[in-house]
């Protein structure tokens, strides 16, 4: 039950809000009543009410002609008395606003939310963790600021219906050889999505400034999927900070989610993943059962020209290459090992952060159905997985103050891999 003029109400709300802000008044429990005075006598009665100063009534629309609605804000202590009065004198009324304070709170939130939303990627705060909405907003800002370099592709929708976006950095050409980077496939690994945001900005800053990156983008494209598991990410904000998997429902189980890094078609079903839907390494009922995974699979296959694939996780400080599902060394294992060594050396050059490197199975544990085992099987020779900071002190809860240093050092490793890929076409 609101007044016909929405702007009128808006103005009233604003003035109350201003009053609240300036006078620091509290409107908890206050109600706004709309009184209908049928005739002059009734209008008079309402005027009597107006005169009772101790009630502290605030008339938004004062008594006037009979039939004209009378709107009044009634402070909580006066509500009973006012209603009793109105009823005793046969004055009809409706409750327009049940609780003024909650309405104010809502409006304030929206107001501040609007203010908090960055106007440009230069004012965006890279040293803090963001929500899904903020990251998606950032992407749009970046594209708007660099339309010649950056575009946003939607490669699918999540289980819960959220769009899945990939940023494409390209200086032209047609289906150029490309590099793929993804972050946030495991939703609780927050430093990765945060680093992805930083990488996106970095690319736009360095093109035309940094010789290496410029050379790379002059011949190749970069695809960057910042939030690879949007449902999981939203869940880490709303309900469970430690959520890892997707949010798909498994028929026959009350447990939710599949480990997207066990759902790829490489060694699927072999040791190194769980068949129990309640575990954090549940592989899913079949390979690519997760739309978040299938979307990337479809993209990679239809693109057909991806030359390096990097999937980013945290934590442990590792740089890994295939295989995870079997102990047999990858055919170009020596090359991968050398490249990994160069990459971690570059990484360490900035802050001294030490990374170990090696194949997945030798360096951490056997893992089947993992991302880079599949991409490698598709012929993407330079397939790597990172595990970023730290080594367990904070783990997934890496302090926000470490986001930018982590992103900066990781970027040096990525640059090394990208440059190598550029110089070793195949």
């Amino acid at each position: 039950m609101f007044p016909a003029g929405r702007s009128m109400r808006g103005l009233l709300i604003w003035s109350v809000l201003l009053g609240a802000v300036l006078g620091k008044e509290d409107f908890v429990g206050h109600q706004v009543l709309r009184i209908s005075a049928a005739d002059e006598a009734q209008v008079q009665k309402v005027k009597e009410l107006e005169d009772l100063e101790h009630l502290q009534l605030d008339f938004w629309r004062g008594p006037g002609q009979p039939g004209s609605p009378i709107d009044v804000r009634v402070p909580f202590p006066s509500i009973q008395a006012v209603k009793a009065f109105l009823e005793a004198h046969g004055l009809g009324y409706t409750i327009m606003i049940e609780d003024v304070q909650s309405l104010l709170d809502e409006e304030q939130e929206q107001m501040f939310a609007f203010q908090a939303r960055s106007r440009s990627t230069d004012t965006f705060n890279y040293a803090t963790y963001h929500t899904l909405e903020e990251i998606y907003g950032f992407m749009d800002l970046l594209v708007a600021e660099h339309p010649q370099l950056v575009s946003k592709l939607q490669i699918g929708n999540t289980y819960e219906g959220r769009p899945i976006y990939v940023l494409k950095f390209s200086t032209g050409g047609n289906n150029r050889p490309a590099i793929w980077i993804d972050t946030g496939i495991h939703s609780r690994e927050w430093v990765t999505q945060a680093s992805g945001v930083w990488f996106a900005k970095k690319i736009t800053q360095d093109y035309g400034q940094d010789l290496t990156l410029t050379a790379i983008l002059d011949s190749m494209d970069i695809f960057l999927e910042i939030v690879t598991n949007p449902d999981g990410f939203a869940f880490t904000h709303s309900k469970n900070r430690m959520w890892r998997k997707t949010r798909s429902l498994t028929p026959g189980s009350s447990c939710v989610g599949v480990d997207p890094n066990r759902n790829w078609d490489a060694g699927f079903g072999m040791p190194g993943a769980s068949s129990n839907p309640c575990t954090d390494t549940y592989r899913g009922k079949f390979a690519n059962s997760e739309v978040e995974v299938k979307s990337i699979v479809d993209f990679v296959k239809s693109h057909g020209n991806i030359k390096a694939f990097v999937s980013i996780h945290s934590y442990s400080q590792l740089l890994l290459y295939p295989y995870g599902y079997k102990a047999e060394p990858a055919p170009n294992r020596d090359e991968l090992d050398q490249l990994a060594k160069s990459a971690v050396t570059a990484l360490a050059s900035l802050y001294g952060t030490k990374f170990k490197y090696g194949s997945i199975i030798k360096t951490i544990y056997q893992a089947s159905g993992s991302t880079i085992d599949w991409t490698y099987s598709q012929g993407i020779k330079y397939s790597f997985t990172f595990e970023l900071r730290d080594t367990g002190r904070y783990g997934f809860l890496l302090p926000a103050s470490q986001i930018v240093p982590t992103a900066q050092e990781t970027w040096l490793a990525l640059r090394t891999i990208m440059e190598y890929t550029l110089n070793h076409p195949y």
Partner: protein
């Protein structure tokens, strides 16, 4: 990793006095000491981190018999940015393949909350023995150059006093919060929780399972009386090979100089068909002085 500044590094004299050549039947030789158990316990945790690091990064031999031992992983090297540990050398040795696993370690230690630019202090050597993939590895450790006893006791007592001043009931949500932040005033709570957590982690560690403490997720009760701090809380442990997050309810009682008491119950993983809450195994309360 030792626990808060006073609790750390109590153990050099103790170990030298009480460890060698004392042998014992139970799996943890030397840990039948009276009032110094709390330090052993924090020491263990620290040590456990060193062991964890080794196991994560050098799976040859004990936890991954199929893989060959890579030269790199047995060379002296520093372990990441993990404070308090510098793994100088590690030599895995399979005693009986898949049944027992013995790891020799050499490492350095420093304070749990080191000051800027502070030098690394203690030097330790240890032997960790896993039997038949069971948890609670037996540990034999010697350290030198740790902080001297009087100073340690002093620091312990300061910590105790500091914690007594915290207002009760504690208005505490998760530590660290989602953004990895720990309010400086809440730091001691985290440290004490970590101490209890380190004991639980040691009890659960096997050659295949190793843990980190991910978060102090709730404080159920915090009482201080003249004798002790009584702390009932829940932590989330992160087990690395399964990637599971395991909530553990811990009840800890501490007073400097007195035996530390720890009871805990960790939540069991849900079976595939399970729907409701789970009853855990590992329910039996354990006290440090029952070693």
């Amino acid at each position: 990793m030792w626990g808060r500044k006073g609790m750390n590094e109590h153990c050099d004299l103790l170990f030298q006095e009480h460890f060698f050549p004392q042998k014992s039947q139970n799996c943890c030789p030397g840990f039948r000491l009276g009032s110094f158990k709390k330090c052993l316990f924090s020491f263990f945790f620290f040590f456990l981190i060193a062991v964890n690091e080794w196991i994560s990064f050098a799976p040859c031999g004990c936890s991954n018999p199929r893989a060959s031992c890579r030269g790199r992983t047995t060379q002296p090297e520093e372990v990441g940015s993990m404070p308090g540990t510098e793994l100088l050398n590690s030599k895995p040795r399979i005693v009986n393949p898949k049944k027992e696993c013995q790891v020799d370690l050499v490492f350095t230690t420093d304070r749990y909350n080191p000051e800027e630019g502070e030098e690394r202090l203690g030097k330790c050597s240890a032997r960790v023995f896993f039997r038949n993939q069971k948890p609670r590895p037996a540990i034999n450790v010697t350290c030198t150059r740790l902080i001297e006893k009087n100073k340690r006791q002093q620091e312990d007592y300061l910590l105790y006093k500091h914690m007594k001043q915290l207002k009760t009931p504690l208005d505490v949500v998760s530590i660290p919060d989602s953004h990895g932040h720990i309010d400086p005033s809440l730091r001691p709570i985290w440290d004490l929780a970590f101490l209890g957590g380190s004991y639980v982690m040691w009890e659960k560690t096997t050659q295949f399972l190793h843990y980190y403490m991910a978060q102090l997720s709730s404080v159920n009760q915090w009482k201080t009386n003249d004798d002790a701090i009584d702390f009932d809380y829940t932590v989330l442990l992160h087990e690395f090979s399964t990637q599971e997050i395991i909530p553990c309810r811990i009840h800890l009682v501490w007073y400097p100089g007195k035996p530390l008491k720890v009871k805990y119950h960790c939540q069991e993983l849900q079976t595939p068909e399970a729907s409701g809450t789970e009853e855990g195994s590992a329910v039996a309360p354990t006290e440090l002085n029952n070693f």
